[in-house]
């Protein structure tokens, strides 16, 4: 996978977490996924078309998704409610928008679809492409010191 496809997602994720959530995320070792399935419990999905075509997904554990909701909205929650699902959709939209801005700087113009969110583990995904899926695992710290991981998967061709 060309590094020019990876960097926009790294920069976008780090920037969005820092600005919207005031959280630093650390990128762990990227992996190539063999299975076309979601990784976490709550997954935002965004299709991208234009100079390239592909899909990105942003996946959290239930605990991670609830933490994102609480930090973004400022409300408490004790389960994955429709509001939590919407918040993950919006975060997916914002990260995608920021990544597209980075792609634009590299001369690649992309348009996004409306974000969708699926709840459940190992949901089979069609990433539109035939090439492997790159997974970028980002870890971040919750207020109680626990570590959570957000998985950003994408495939572009």
């Amino acid at each position: 996978m060309d590094v020019k496809y990876i960097n926009p997602f790294i920069m976008a994720t780090q920037s969005v977490f820092k600005t919207m959530l005031a959280i630093d995320v650390n990128l762990n070792k990227p992996v190539l996924k063999t299975e076309r399935k979601t990784t976490g419990d709550v997954t935002g999905i965004m299709g991208l078309v234009g100079d390239r075509k592909g899909t990105i997904t942003i996946s959290f554990s239930e605990k991670g998704a609830m933490f994102v909701y609480q930090t973004l909205i400022g409300d408490e929650c004790s389960s994955v409610t429709p509001d939590v699902v919407d918040a993950i959709g919006e975060l997916t939209n914002i990260i995608s928008g920021q990544a597209r801005k980075e792609f634009e700087k590299a001369g690649i113009n992309l348009k996004a679809s409306i974000p969708m969110v699926v709840v459940g583990q190992a949901v089979v995904m069609n990433f539109v492409t035939t090439i492997p899926i790159m997974q970028l695992p980002f870890d971040f710290e919750l207020k109680n010191g626990d570590k959570e991981v957000m998985f950003l998967d994408f495939s572009f061709e």
């Binding site: 969005v16 919207m20 918040a87």
Partner: protein
């Protein structure tokens, strides 16, 4: 300060409200599109409008044009929020009289700065 937040996505309205709260602005009205916002403005007075770009029924740019064409509300500072930092969109908003714009994602400080600049532009 009373702010009208216009966005078709309830979660985004909540996010903006949460950011506003962090800069001590808690008096917030909400509308889910430009058409709804114009109705709100007929019945209430606000000091600032923060509007999304892409919305059903009446888009942000249509809402902006309607506001700037109305003598009774044209002086309310208008900030456009967009996730797509595309120059064409921004240029269209500037030509239509937007007082400032802000690109998602943004920090409370960035929003504060955008509000101050928008207020200064309309002389408030």
């Amino acid at each position: 300060m009373k702010v009208l937040v216009v966005d078709d996505f309830a979660t985004m309205r909540k996010i903006i409200k949460n950011v506003l709260k962090q800069i001590n602005i808690e008096n917030v009205l909400e509308a889910e599109n430009g058409k709804h916002a114009l109705t709100v403005l007929k019945n209430d007075t606000v000091d600032l409008i923060i509007s999304d770009w892409i919305m059903p029924e009446m888009t942000g740019i249509e809402f902006l044009k309607a506001c700037k064409a109305d003598e009774t509300i044209k002086k309310i500072p208008f900030i456009m929020v967009t996730a797509e930092a595309q120059k064409d969109n921004i240029m269209e908003a500037i030509k239509s009289g937007v007082d400032n714009y802000i690109v998602k994602p943004f920090t409370p400080d960035k929003l504060r700065e955008a509000i101050d600049k928008a207020k200064a532009k309309v002389g408030k």
